[in-house]
Amino acid sequence: MMDCRQVMELLDAYALGATDQGEARAIEGHVADCVRCWEEFSKSQQTAALLALALPIQPVPERVGRRLMEAAAREQPKGRREPRAGLFGRVRLSWPALAAAMSLAGIAALAFATFLQVQMNDLRDDKTALAEQVQNTNTELARQLDTEKQMFAVLSAPDTLKVPLSPVSTAAPVLSASVIYNWSAQSRKGFMLCQDLPPLSGDQVYQVWFTSKGDAHSAGTFRTDDGSCQMAMDLSFLRARPEGLGISVEQAGGSARPTNDWLLYADFTGEQHTTP
């Protein structure tokens, strides 16, 4: 087993793909359970990923785009596909229990994902369809695990703020909704928890926005079956410290700019907010 120091020393090499298989497996196992190393791990990964941007640009031949679009159009199915609700759309945890449950759920999910990985390797080649199903489940679990880690990173930051969103629209169903945003300026991460959001029609989504200098920047969209949500947000793409967070209802797929009034909004510029 590698300890934090050994892992930290290899993270840059891992991000460059320069570790051997044994080291890579040990690092992956460690960061799955260690929030501190996981944060460093993400930073190394992001730095390495930018290297490709430094290459001289070679224009891709036109025929490639043509062939690609033809192939994609051929695979266009008849019906419309709804995005699958993530595990988080279905699993609902009460707020105080959440922090305690997170580490346990993380370990369980990882154990299960590892188990599935083994299964998947056995299935490869001859039973690809089944393997793909397993892979989908794996992706789903990885997504859940990432959300949990991000929430944990926010909660363990020294400067975590807990900000309730207030209803802006006076429509009755919104008044009973409860939405709380937790964020840490230092770790550049945040997450939002909601309960009792009103249901939307099939072609609508909730879209979350950061406001900054009179502009709104999309933080993503979500749908919910039971009015609850758990959404992790990475703030590192924001150029300026956000001034507020709003939720609007948009057409499925999301909008470039808010096209409807705020349903709920939190202003970060006003009074001091409570820390948990």
Binding site: A15, P59, T221, R241
Partner: protein
Amino acid sequence: MQDVSPNEEVYGGLDDEELMQRLFYRDLKAFRTLFSRYGNLVYSTSLRVVRDSQLAEDMVQEIFLRIWRKPDSYVAQRGRFVSWLASVTRNRAVDEIRSRNRRFRYETSSPEEQQREFAAPASNDPALTAEMADQRRLIVAALSGLPAEQRQVIEMAYFGGLTQQEISDRLSQPLGTVKTRIRLGMQKLRAALTPELKWEER
């Protein structure tokens, strides 16, 4: 094919993550927009690793089709789309050369040749967004500020697909030296890129 022509009026304003969301609805225009934004990046990266234009073209097709078929393989919480796409491309290309065990895997070159591996600050991709162009300027500047031997090992690992041990063998340098160069080089890159992560104060 009229319905798949790019429509910048509608989609130019959407960011990558929003375009990815639209793929769940099998939106060909969103897919087209992503390709027009990043086709060159994926091609350049593939070509740099496999060094064979036909193979690089096939990889572009494969990587984008996989995104079209499985948009949920991108997990937004893990980071920006472009970082993910660059990693997917690099890893796929390295798998390819490893499985073929091609002879053209990293050939040791002089520091002068190394210098040319990365872009001159002036060259740019017109398809890149302003934000990406900024990042590109930063990373090119950061790389050119590294000592040649640090830049070399980073390059051999990332684009050559070599492990630290393999780099040590090729350069006839102790493994510890290679490890140190990688760490120092990456630390400097990260530090040089950090201003990008700072919020402007009001």
